[in-house]
């Protein structure tokens, strides 16, 4: 064993599948001065890897989870530590059969071989399954069973050969920090263990269920909860033993009972996600010495598992006579939003999280973090959904973590709608109009912690006025209302009032503020005071990191306005790159400023009723802020900034005012708008229908780090002189021969009828775009053409989809197909820009 070091460039804590693969990937990327620690023994230190069921189903509706699962499966395969057993998800209910059609659609999107089976076909592949209790199955031949412990050992060995030193049975007692390069920031200093302290530049926490406890040592938070997944190993079973293999039959996921059956040599592992959520605080997990089995194999609570056994015997009768040889309450990690926690912690510079990762995606996610540490951002995939910086403070509390983990545990095998809303932990943050919106019957959708009205029941009368049709299939109508279409048409005819309080607003100030803002942004921020600039921020590799608005508020002050889904990540990024000389200060002013949007042809009349300011295009030009006094009645005037811009593509303004003044402005606008058809208008218009008609891109949907501004159609004619993050990569992309390979397009569905003659409406859940021959469309990078957003275009009378297409397929009128629920629907390319008011006459005219 090497001598315990006092220094290292990077210390990785945790030698489960993630920590081992991480040091392996870091070694591949050239890191040599590495230390890997674990408090347990090797090769199985007692974390969740040691009791994992070790199988990978390659289809997930979520792009990050699916592609990183595939990436991981391939890494296991490349090491020869994987067997393709195949796997079948069986359905007992018609609802699940519909879900399996959706699984087929995602399989096509991600290029995974799959087919639907009749009950008899399921029984042909798995003869011990009772076909009488199922309606069908979804079969993936490439479902694989992997050896995660040996994979970890191999990856660790690879790192050791590059110089990594490994210390098992070494407990981390503290992670000390020192002042970071920016005032008020902290940076990693040392890892203190029971064998000594190691001064280090980087620390990675890959501690599975213990990750938050370890992060807390450094003053950081990794919001995850250790949760029980019950598993019983039953056998011996002759038909399994006769295979002579670890795995000889496809794995069966009994989706409607949230249960799986996976052969393990002569036995069957029966695992459950159906029992009550059982969460343990990290402090309540026993040590290796205290645990009867391993720390993460908690005592089995049989009462919780009994219903599952009955259901398992229904499906596979021979299980009934098999002995329960081993049964555990195995711990795994759950987060508040069911996504992993990857990346640098916002609290401590160079303290990295590689946590809440399961065996099925471990190697791929380790690669993500290794690339992030090496290149400044992951290359293998855009990982914004897993970015640890995404959380807002209320999401990091134990109360929130536990409530959310408990709520989504039983959805592990659930049928989850793309727009599904959480039941618990609602109304954590909301604009100052909440009581007014409730009176108007607002249906709230939650964006991270923020509540936003999606539509208002008070507008139900507009449905008849505009003759809006409902949707006949419940799935398509779930989390949707025809009112949202009616609100859209009213906005286009009259005007709408939109609560934008969830905007995350930051300010950069100081003598270096403008130069720093320019360093973050692709577009020029050194513009006259009062000018606002819509701009991408790029990754070092030139892909989208953010997409937001920056406002030149003063000579030495720049305001950043970004969407609620990206506020945490954007704040982290803006703080992370602050100059070290103290010339720029950062402030989050979200809670001080409220924003209302007023748009539609009557917007100038409504807003004009509150101010004498010149609201003409000359007096309040597009893209500029104008300071005004709004007369809110009763002698009350409110100072506000009018910003002529629109994410719905209509005449009007974003109105910025002090938070406490917001209700007065709301009331004054509603009063002034009564004669102008002003209606409160929800996010269904703002975020979907209005946006899609204008072809406006959304960060996290159309805009990801895998795409650059040229491909997204957001490149400006010239590149500014000033340096900015990602500039070199961006310049290379601009000078590439032949131009961008793909273009972001809007497509229109030309026939909605399914095989049963029902009109169907795509939900924007990565539905694949196919050629007329039914072939997938991919580019030379392997990026697939899929629906990134979908929704109605009420003013153009078409249902709209957005997708990247190879430029040769991007010409308007090109006929293609979209797959939805495993059926094909014809679509045609509408273009790369707006389908409504393409000349922006309403916006700028």
């Amino acid at each position: 064993m090497p001598e315990f070091p006092s220094e290292a460039r990077c210390v990785v804590i945790g030698a489960g599948i993630v920590g081992n693969c991480l040091v392996g990937h870091l070694a591949k990327l050239g890191w040599t001065d590495l230390v890997l620690l674990d408090k347990g023994p090797l090769p199985n230190p007692g974390g969740s890897t040691g009791h994992a069921s070790n199988f990978i189903f390659p289809v997930d509706h979520n792009k990050e989870m699916c592609l990183l699962g595939e990436q991981s499966a391939n890494q296991y395969r490349d090491l020869g530590l994987s067997v393709d057993s195949g796997g079948i998800e069986v359905a007992r209910t018609p609802e699940r059969m519909d879900e399996l059609q959706r699984r087929m659609t995602s399989a096509v999107a991600w290029g995974v071989e799959a087919r639907l089976l009749t009950p008899a076909e399921v029984a042909e592949l798995v003869p011990f399954v009772n076909p009488e209790v199922i309606l069908g199955g979804f079969y993936c031949p490439t479902v694989s069973v992997v050896d995660s412990l040996e994979t970890g050992t191999r990856m660790r060995t690879l790192a050791v050969e590059a110089g990594c030193r490994v210390f098992a049975n070494t407990e981390v007692l503290d992670i000390t920090t020192r002042p970071g390069p920016v005032e008020g920031s902290r940076a990693v200093e040392a890892v203190v263990t029971d064998k000594g302290a190691i001064s280090t530049e980087h620390v990675v926490i890959a501690c599975g269920v213990w990750s938050n406890r370890v992060a807390n040592m450094a003053g950081a938070r990794i919001p995850l909860a250790p949760a029980v997944h019950q598993m019983a190993d039953v056998g011996p079973i002759d038909i399994l033993a006769a295979t002579g293999n670890e795995i000889g039959y496809p794995i069966v996921r009994d989706m409607d009972t949230f249960c799986y059956e996976r052969q393990s040599a002569g036995s069957m592992e029966v695992g459950s996600y159906a029992h009550r959520p059982i969460l343990h605080h990290p402090d309540d997990i026993p040590s290796n010495a205290e645990a009867a089995l391993s720390p993460t194999e908690m005592p089995f609570t049989p009462d919780d598992f009994d219903p599952q056994m009955e259901q398992a015997i229904e499906l596979i009768e021979l299980l009934g006579d098999a002995e329960i040889k081993y049964a555990i309450n195995g711990l795994l990690s759950l987060t508040p939003d069911a996504m992993p926690c990857l990346g640098e912690t916002p609290e401590v510079r160079n303290l990295w999280s590689a946590a809440a990762v399961w065996v099925k995606e471990g190697p791929g996610m380790a690669q993500v973090v290794a690339e992030w540490m090496t290149h400044g951002y992951p290359r293998v995939i855009d990982a914004h959904g897993a970015d640890i910086a995404r959380f807002y403070p209320p999401e990091q509390t134990d109360e929130h973590i536990w409530a959310r983990a408990a709520e989504h545990f039983n959805k592990t095998y659930g049928i989850v709608h793309p727009a599904e809303q959480w039941e618990g932990r609602r109304f954590l943050d909301a604009g100052p109009y909440l009581s007014r919106q409730r009176e108007l019957g607002a249906e709230f959708f939650q964006a991270r912690t923020w509540e936003r009205p999606q539509w208002f029941e008070s507008n139900a009368d507009l449905v008849d006025r505009y003759g809006v049709e409902g949707r006949e299939v419940e799935w398509d109508a779930r989390w949707w209302s025809p009112i949202t279409v009616a609100e859209h048409l009213n906005l286009r005819e009259n005007c709408g009032l939109v609560d934008l309080s969830a905007f995350q607003i930051f300010e950069l100030s100081g003598p270096g503020a403008v130069a720093y803002a320019d360093y973050l942004a692709v577009n020029r921020i050194d513009v006259p005071v009062g000018r606002a600039v819509y701009t991408p921020w790029l990754t070092p590799d030139g892909g989208f990191r953010s997409d937001l608005t920056m406002m030149r508020m003063a000579a030495d002050r720049v305001r950043i306005v970004t969407g609620v889904f990206d506020g945490g990540r954007d704040e982290y990024w803006a703080r992370r790159h602050l100059p070290h000389d103290g010339s720029v200060s950062f402030a989050n002013v979200t809670g001080e400023i409220t924003t209302l949007g007023v748009w539609g042809p009557n917007a100038p009349a409504v807003v004009g009723a509150l101010t004498d300011a010149d609201l003409s295009q000359a007096g309040s030009p597009y893209g500029w802020l104008v300071d005004v006094e709004l007369d809110c009645g009763g002698g009350r005037t409110v100072a506000a900034a009018l910003f002529r811009i629109s994410y719905v593509g209509d005449a009007g303004w974003e109105i910025y005012a002090a938070w406490d003044d917001g209700p007065a402005v709301w009331d004054a606008l509603m009063a002034a708008g009564a004669d102008w058809g002003l209606r409160p208008t929800g996010g269904g218009v703002y975020g979907t229908s209005g946006r899609l008609e204008k072809g406006y891109r959304l960060m996290g949907a159309e805009l990801e780090s895998e795409y650059n501004p040229l491909e997204a159609g957001l490149a400006r004619p010239r590149v500014k002189e000033a340096d900015f993050i990602g500039k070199q990569a961006y310049l290379r992309a601009r000078s590439a021969a032949g131009g961008p390979e793909v273009a972001m397009c809007t497509l229109a569905v030309t026939d909605h009828a399914d095989r049963r003659g029902r009109k169907r409406y795509m939900q924007g859940g990565n539905e694949p775009i196919l050629t007329l021959d039914g072939n997938r469309i991919t580019d030379s990078h392997g990026r697939v053409s899929r629906v990134t957003s979908a929704g109605p275009g009420p003013s153009v009378g078409r249902y709209l989809l957005m997708a990247y297409l190879p430029v040769e397929l991007a010409a308007p009128g090109t006929e293609l197909q979209v797959m939805y629920m495993n059926e094909l629907f014809p679509v045609e390319v509408a273009g790369t820009g707006a389908v409504f008011d393409p000349d922006d006459a309403r916006l700028k005219g």
């Binding site: 205290e290 006579d321 329960i324």
Partner: protein, 257 residues
């Protein structure tokens, strides 16, 4: 038909390190599951095997908290037919008190419906937690039954039971007229695991409750103390043939080469 009674105790299932509560009077079970004391698990298995072999009914009796019903159900899941719980009051327990309660419970069960004495009463040799080695002997004595402890084999031979136990270099064999009692040791058999159906069937077991008590016997526990730990460390010496020199070095350092 043989009537066999098996006495079991609910005990913590600890890991390598056993923590003691702050007052020093109990095992800290915060992280622990509970199980049947291992000798008694073998006792249940032996009783079930005898019943299967010779025809008979197995009753399992426990003195413990309400949660000890879990251990009765577990016994039912591997073949026991009846489960009887004598709820413990949570106060101090000692072998005399426990044995007196069990003996009285057995008398009640035997007198109910004129059932008569159990042919065989099976104890574990000692419990996994307190390890007093007394309850079986005291109970049998209280009932006036013969008992052999340390039993590693049981044969039923008509009205007699022949048992054997290990001694250095061989076995001792005892024969007793039934009704009799034995204290069995782990290793007498390999207890089966419950089947799924067995587990589900055990959920339907109606647990009989007997409320009984007896005076303290005089033995009191002062405190539990955890002995100093011996820390051992595992080092991987290598893989495959390359590991041979390192293995040889270790063997040499141990003086075995």
């Amino acid at each position: 038909m043989l009537r066999i009674l098996c006495c079991v105790k609910r005990v913590p299932a600890p890991g390598a390190r056993i923590n003691v509560t702050a007052d020093g009077l109990a095992v800290d079970a915060a992280h622990l599951g509970f199980t049947t004391s291992p000798h008694e698990e073998c006792g249940v298995e032996e009783a079930v095997q005898i019943a299967e072999r010779c025809g008979g009914e197995v009753t399992v009796l426990t003195l413990g908290p309400p949660e000890a019903a879990e251990q009765l159900r577990y016994a039912a899941s591997v073949g026991a037919h009846r489960g009887v719980l004598v709820p413990a009051d949570g106060g101090a327990r000692d072998p005399q008190r426990t044995a007196a309660i069990l003996a009285e419970a057995i008398r009640r069960l035997e007198s109910a419906d004129g059932a008569g004495p159990f042919d065989l009463i099976v104890f574990g040799n000692e419990s996994a937690d307190s390890g007093g080695f007394q309850v079986g002997v005291r109970t049998a004595y209280g009932l006036g039954r013969p008992i052999v402890n340390g039993v590693k084999g049981i044969e039923i031979d008509g009205p007699a039971v022949r048992v054997r136990r290990e001694i250095d270099g061989g076995f001792e064999v005892y024969e007793m007229e039934m009704p009799a009692a034995v204290g069995v040791k782990e290793g007498i058999n390999l207890p089966r695991y419950p089947t799924m159906k067995g587990r589900l069937a055990s959920k339907r077991l109606e647990i009989e409750i007997l409320d009984l008590d007896a005076p303290l016997g005089g033995q009191t526990m002062v405190r539990l103390r955890r002995p100093a730990e011996t820390v051992s460390e595992t080092a991987i010496l290598g893989h495959g043939p390359e590991a041979a020199p390192a293995v040889a070095d270790v063997l040499e350092s141990l003086g075995v080469l």
